[in-house]
């Protein structure tokens, strides 16, 4: 049947392009000087983070302004595990994701009692509470100074993560894994329900979906992915401070999702690369990166509210139909 072949025709194009893209990045990162590789690692970490937020913001339509909470919690937990319990990556990551999921569940229960503007405010408040915990609980988190001296974890496969090049490939794999998982979710019945929720929750409920449960699950999974990003982050930097839990990070990752294109698979990755790269290059020329970042926020809202990926997609669609 022609319908089936149209599906299979399109179906391999995007994944193939993505694999190619990853291959290019891998080679570029491996061959680059250490500084650039480090920059790329930052991009990869925030790509994972943005993919996490995108599930809640882009696909389910719920804008969270406190997502750094899960990122930070993941980072702190992994750091504490490394410092006090075990250098094994797997145990640290498991614990960190677990704690992020727990925070996601708790905060999700609280936040989902509200909607719209109030949802935004409560996620902001909860993010700030988490920041306050990180800042005030000196004995656990090191307070303002944070956790320091966190070494590279042990993968247990005889592989070392010491050099930037090694860690870069590791981070790239982590992103690939995250992208794979998110793609599965998005193309699943659950993912379809999330999309429906962002467009017409009343109709979704009337059809028979438990809308609250869909949102809750989306919230929790999103928190878990953000926590995973925190793990990769803390093991790269070697330290974590309350800044990682702060509003600036929450807003930055939101910007990445929007710039790249909320509700698309590759958009958040593109957004992360753009914002991280811009930040690094602008900061090397001027002290006024914050001003430029602010202008970027305003500009995105005014000129590209649906993000770059959509804009390109629209152009392609227009060309195809004409």
């Amino acid at each position: 049947m022609s319908k089936k072949s149209a599906y299979t025709q399109r179906a391999w194009l995007a994944p193939a392009a993505t694999v190619l893209l990853f291959a290019i990045i891998a080679v570029a990162g491996w061959l680059s000087p250490s500084y650039t590789t480090g920059l790329l690692i930052d991009c990869l970490i925030f790509s994972i983070f943005a993919l996490g937020l995108n599930l809640l913001l882009g696909y389910t339509g719920l804008p969270s302004l406190g997502h750094a909470a899960y990122f930070g919690v993941g980072a702190y937990t992994a750091g504490l595990m490394m410092l006090h319990v075990t250098p094994s990556f797997w145990w640290c990551a498991l614990a960190a994701i677990g704690v992020s999921l727990a925070f996601g569940a708790l905060y999700g229960l609280l936040s989902l009692r509200t909607s719209g503007v109030f949802f935004l405010i409560i996620t902001l408040a909860l993010g700030q509470i988490t920041w306050a915990i990180a800042f005030s609980w000196r004995s656990l988190t090191g307070g303002d100074d944070g956790l320091r001296g966190i070494g590279r974890p042990d993968l247990g496969l005889g592989l070392s993560l010491q050099s930037n090049n090694d860690y870069f490939l590791f981070a790239l794999l982590a992103l690939a894994l995250t992208l794979f998982v998110v793609r599965l979710i998005v193309r699943s019945p659950f993912g379809a329900a999330l999309r429906g929720d962002s467009q017409n929750p009343e109709r979704l409920a009337a059809l028979g979906y438990n809308v609250w449960l869909c949102r809750f699950l989306s919230f929790v999974i999103s928190a878990g992915i953000s926590g995973f990003a925190g793990v990769i982050f803390v093991f790269y930097k070697g330290f974590v401070s309350p800044e990682a839990v702060g509003i600036v990070i929450s807003a930055e990752v939101m910007l990445m999702v929007i710039i790249g294109g909320a509700g698309t698979l590759l958009g958040p990755i593109l957004g992360a690369f753009v914002v991280v790269y811009l930040g690094h290059s602008v900061s090397s020329h001027t002290d006024r990166w914050m001003t430029i970042l602010g202008v970027l926020y305003v500009a995105v809202v005014l000129f590209a509210p649906h993000g770059i990926v959509r804009a390109i997609g629209n152009k392609l669609a227009i060309r195809k139909s004409s």
Binding site: F190, A193, E202, L207, L213
Partner: protein, 249 residues
């Protein structure tokens, strides 16, 4: 009591000082085609939404197929066997016709929370969607985003989604509003073609449609139930004539 599909007892909906629905009681036996009539603002849609679960009553009870449904959410009522359309077309505008129907079909399946397999891999459900597209003649438009469909086609899709899972109770809120004569005729034909195991409750403004389809009527006015009865009883009532054709609001 168990022969009633829908039972509404002393139901009230109060908004501040206003009683949108004032102590209404109604019983719809299984298989009946029942039409709610009344001028605008009579409380029909509010009553409807309390049966469908979109709103909770201030007081009173709603029983569906013998089960107390007063505290149940809309999605829970759907799993009891309820299907409904809305007065203002309510679809997923930014996705395709096909994707809308997929959601409808998946909604009552145990796999609706599955996160690991793609939608297309569920062959059984996809076949059902194909069937629906065929039956409702959406084949050519299956890949069209709903927002690009004509108004009449959107109403048709909404109806298709409501009956997709063979509900036992069908709630239709002004299903023919804004439709052409031909489209209205097909809706009427559809309703009449439904098996007698399905109970249908409609809100309708088009009196011709109402009389063609209904077994019994309930008339609401200012939130109160004025009368329930058959066509001849309604036609014969002077009170009703006054409400509709006399000093109607």
């Amino acid at each position: 009591m168990s022969s009633h599909a829908i039972q509404v007892e002393n139901i009230v909906k109060q908004f501040g000082g206003l009683r949108a629905v004032d102590d209404v009681s109604l019983s719809v036996p299984v298989g009946e085609r029942h039409v709610l009539l009344g001028p605008n603002g009579a409380g029909k849609t509010t009553l409807f939404s309390m049966i469908g679960g979109q709103q909770k009553p201030t007081s009173g009870r709603v029983t569906l197929l013998g089960r107390d449904a007063t505290r149940l959410n809309a999605h829970q009522r759907t799993h009891l066997g309820l299907g409904r359309t809305f007065q203002i077309t309510s679809l997923f505008q930014d996705i395709t016709v096909e994707e809308n129907l997929q959601l409808a079909v998946m909604a009552v399946s145990r796999s609706r929370f599955n996160m690991l397999r793609s939608v297309e891999s569920f062959a059984g459900m996809m076949d059902r969607v194909d069937e629906l597209l065929e039956t409702w003649r959406f084949g050519a438009d299956r890949r069209l985003p709903v927002k690009e469909l004509s108004y009449g086609d959107q109403r048709k899709l909404e109806l298709a989604m409501a009956v997709a899972n063979q509900p036992k109770i069908l709630l239709l809120d002004e299903p023919t509003s804004g439709l052409s004569t031909a489209e209205t005729a097909s809706v009427v034909e559809l309703i009449r073609g439904l098996p007698r195991s399905v109970t249908v409750l409609l809100v309708e403004h088009d009196m011709d449609v109402a009389f063609e389809v209904a077994d019994r009527f309930t008339i609401l006015h200012n939130g109160k139930l004025i009368m329930s009865g058959t066509e001849s009883e309604v036609r014969g009532s002077r009170h009703i004539q006054e409400i509709y054709f006399g000093d109607s609001a």
